[in-house]
């Protein structure tokens, strides 16, 4: 990649040093706190559950990325249709987004799992179909609920992103003789995704924070493993503190990774 000279309009102020006296003091206080937590609380269960915890984190990440990617694929048409689609389709997409964004995810999840699950079970055609072994498990419902929620939230973002691409760029593409599809593929979609990228970080973190909900319908992720630990060891705080720490680390890694990704894309006066 060749070095591109980017004129910087905004230079972030230099972050305050980590080693100011009050920060050293605070770090000492936190170190003592962490030491107390490690010393006085019970952590002897940790080695026994280590493998399952790692598996759980993997499941959480799998759930996060699969739902985010598939959800994003749905979000693109949802946003596009609201900007340029025929009226009935636009209204439909708009209603879908309002419906999903206006009700709690937990309710949607339970509606799918308990409601739809019980409806499916009533039809012998579905019970005898090849899909039934999957429909009997919990993860398809968890996946669908998370995916739909991501699609609706991100669809709203994509609507704004599509609408915000400068008209001149689209007109220029048409003047070049591009067909509608080429124009979409080469100009409109990349520009819209570029505009939506900063919010994508926030949406993905929100999605990560929604994943533990699937544990309430018996999908096994890291939250479900921790619940299991709590039931088996009768500990209240230790597993929950570890769980919070795990999610904090995952959030931090996600934000950092997205920042790297964003920095790789050159921006000029956006």
């Amino acid at each position: 990649m060749s070095e591109v000279q980017v004129p910087s309009a905004y230079v972030a102020p230099k972050g305050r040093s980590l080693f100011e006296p009050h920060r050293i003091f605070l770090m000492l206080v936190f170190a003592v706190l962490i030491f107390c937590v490690a010393w006085f609380m019970r952590w002897d269960w940790l080695p026994r559950y280590q493998d399952r915890l790692i598996y759980g984190v993997g499941q959480t990440l799998l759930m996060l990325f699969s739902t985010a990617i598939v959800g994003f694929l749905f979000a693109v048409p949802l946003g596009l249709v609201q900007v340029t689609g025929p009226k009935p389709l636009a209204l439909l997409a708009r209603g879908f987004c309002t419906l999903i964004r206006g009700t709690p995810l937990l309710l949607q999840l339970w509606l799918l799992y308990y409601g739809l699950g019980s409806v499916f079970a009533q039809f012998p055609e579905i019970r005898s179909s090849f899909l039934w072994p999957y429909l009997r498990q919990a993860w398809p419902y968890g996946f669908t609920a998370l995916m739909i929620s991501f699609a609706a939230y991100e669809g709203e973002v994509m609507r704004g992103a599509f609408a915000g691409v400068p008209r001149g760029e689209l007109e220029a593409a048409r003047a070049f003789g591009m067909g509608r599809f080429t124009l979409f593929r080469r100009i409109w979609l990349p520009r819209a995704i570029h505009r939506a990228l900063p919010t994508l970080t926030g949406e993905t973190v929100l999605q990560l924070k929604s994943t533990p909900l699937v544990a309430t319908v018996t999908v096994v992720d890291v939250y479900a493993i921790i619940s299991r630990v709590r039931q088996e060891t009768y500990l209240t705080y230790e597993p929950l503190l570890l769980l919070a720490l795990i999610y904090l680390c995952l959030t931090g890694i996600l934000v950092y990774a997205f920042r790297l990704l964003e920095n790789r894309i050159p921006t000029r006066g956006v």
Binding site: H22, T98, S118, T211, Y247, T251
Partner: protein, 240 residues
């Protein structure tokens, strides 16, 4: 259809009354939590902007942790830790332990979570007030608190409204998470009604309609408030 209406009827064999009770509980927690969050947020924003270095760092830790951990996990931790802490304090004071009502605990939990988000919203809004206005208030001899009440808070309101209305919608939906700790709000009573009658679809759809109703009514109210707060402001494209 007749059976469905029978299930949803307000009197005893039907579960409509139970659902409405859950709705009221949800709204109470949402209101209380939102107000508590606003209180924490105002203090937090003031602390982040004008506080000492230690207070500022501590608030940064608070907002980062709350925004980085799933609400569900926070609710579990705060629910147990909050009730535990109150009882320990009572024991220290030599008083008998109390049963903390689910409502109070729920308001506390939602308030702490909302507080972190509204800290950020309010901080950003205060920063976008033209500094001359606050300086003018000081120049008139207003004390910092008076300037906050008379100038800073009213002047930042238009900037904070979009974020705050978003937070209110999040608060109403976050109350559903209290179902996991067994607080009888709308989602949990819906599940109980559905489990008892086996009419899962009916009840979950009914609850969905209720939640959607909250959101739509809230949107109308928010639009009215925005219209009022933005009166007399000339911001091309700014007023949505």
């Amino acid at each position: 259809m007749d059976a469905t209406l029978h299930l949803l009827s307000l009197t005893s064999p039907g579960w409509g009354g139970v659902l409405l009770g859950g709705l009221v509980a949800s709204l109470q927690v949402a209101f209380g939590g939102y107000l508590l969050g606003l209180l924490i947020g105002t203090g937090g924003a003031a602390g982040k902007l004008w506080g000492g270095p230690i207070l500022r760092d501590l608030l940064e830790v608070y907002t980062t942790v709350v925004r980085g951990v799933p609400e569900l996990v926070l609710i579990l931790i705060l629910y147990y830790a909050g009730t535990d802490a109150v009882n320990q304090v009572m024991a220290l004071l030599g008083l008998p332990s109390v049963d903390i009502s689910g409502l109070a605990a729920g308001i506390f939990v939602i308030g702490v979570v909302q507080g972190a988000y509204s800290t950020e919203v309010l901080r950003g809004a205060i920063l976008s007030i033209p500094p001359g206005q606050i300086e003018a208030a000081r120049a008139y001899g207003m004390s910092p608190l008076l300037a906050l009440r008379r100038v800073t808070l009213p002047a930042m309101l238009p900037f904070a409204l979009p974020g705050l209305s978003n937070l209110w919608l999040i608060a109403t939906k976050d109350t559903a998470l209290l179902a996991v700790v067994g607080f009888a709000e709308l989602t949990l009573v819906t599940r109980q009604a559905a489990g008892t009658t086996k009419a899962y679809m009916t009840f979950f759809l009914a609850a969905g309609v209720l939640y959607l109703g909250i959101t739509l009514v809230s949107n109308l109210v928010i639009r009215a408030i925005e219209k009022r707060a933005l009166r007399g402001m000339t911001r091309p494209g700014g007023a949505a």
